[in-house]
Symmetry: C2
Subunit: 191 residues, 2 copies
């Protein structure tokens, strides 16, 4: 079993309705030494891809992305949730529909920090329906940069995001893949 | 001149109305190697304080706080902006009034992640009016934990937050202190 899967079994909690609580080590309290080990796993997977920039989305992706930035030795950019109107054209902007929170929001990245020469690795804590990852892919595409793939901590593979994005050609390296969560509080990982 | 001050002179931009843009290295694109050097400076300042937890607030404090967590060898908690009603008492909650954005919002921390035995270092990217830092102090106080102080990247010392919070007894270590910003795009640091 993989490192993050072991940690989920030890400290994660399954709640009714397909909710996995990992806020003791991943997305509220953060175990930064675990993050370093996860970043090493992404680095191993993307070692040949000449990543020179990491892109994530606020808020809970930022910690993972920054530690990955140390390992990949490159700057980290986080897309910002905003109500800003893009009047002066200085921003790339896209729309993300959150199924989890039932809302739609804009995210932006300054044109200064995504360049056509960039080779971008996307980092996020969760992949379920894939809405956030869709948005990040769209921002990279607008900039003309190359997206080498996505490093995800926890993928809920019983939800459609991973399959849809892989079918579109996105390489996704998820460090824990959950195929089922049960109302008795247990869960199953993909093989 | 100190490291972060040199970087602000090199890559920061002063905008009319007392706005300092540092989004090329601090709060949109993040230079994580710089962050490591800043974290080392905080660690030097708070080496004797037995810090066992770092607390920050989403979103732009998270990157700095996570890298500091590696240096201090402790977990990092970020307070979340939320509209959640605290019905079940499982949260510490406070209210932050942002002068910059002209709004008021609630921030929460789970009671599981701030304990009376904790010795907490607060980390944030900016200190101006001190509203965010007030909120973090309040959360720590509610929990019964000890606040050893605050590590701030950029303090605008011409705004009242730093003076007010120091007068209340909070130890604040700011790595760049700006005492004046001028409409011609120049700025001055405190000695």
């Amino acid at each position: 079993m993989r490192l993050l899967e072991e940690r989920i079994l030890k400290d994660g909690k399954v709640r009714p309705g397909g909710i996995l609580k990992v806020d003791g080590f991943l997305n509220h309290q953060m175990d930064v030494h675990l993050f370093m080990q996860l970043a090493d796993q992404w680095h191993e997977a993307f070692a040949a891809d000449n990543v020179n920039k990491i892109l994530t989305i606020e808020a809970s992706g930022i910690g993972l992305a920054c530690i990955a930035g140390l390992v990949f030795d490159c700057p980290v950019v986080f897309a910002k949730k905003t109500k800003t109107k893009n009047i002066d054209g200085s921003l790339y902007k896209t729309t993300v529909e959150s199924f989890t929170h039932g809302n739609i929001y804009d995210v932006i990245v300054s044109r200064d920090y995504l360049l056509p020469t960039d080779r971008v690795l996307l980092i996020d804590d969760f992949l379920a329906n894939g809405a956030a990852l869709d948005g990040l892919c769209d921002l990279v595409e607008q900039s003309g940069a190359t997206c080498v793939g996505a490093g995800i901590a926890v993928e809920k593979s019983f939800q459609p995001g991973g399959q849809r994005l892989r079918a579109r050609g996105l390489r996704i390296e998820s460090l824990a893949r959950i195929k089922a969560m049960h109302d008795d509080g247990t869960l199953e990982f993909d093989d």
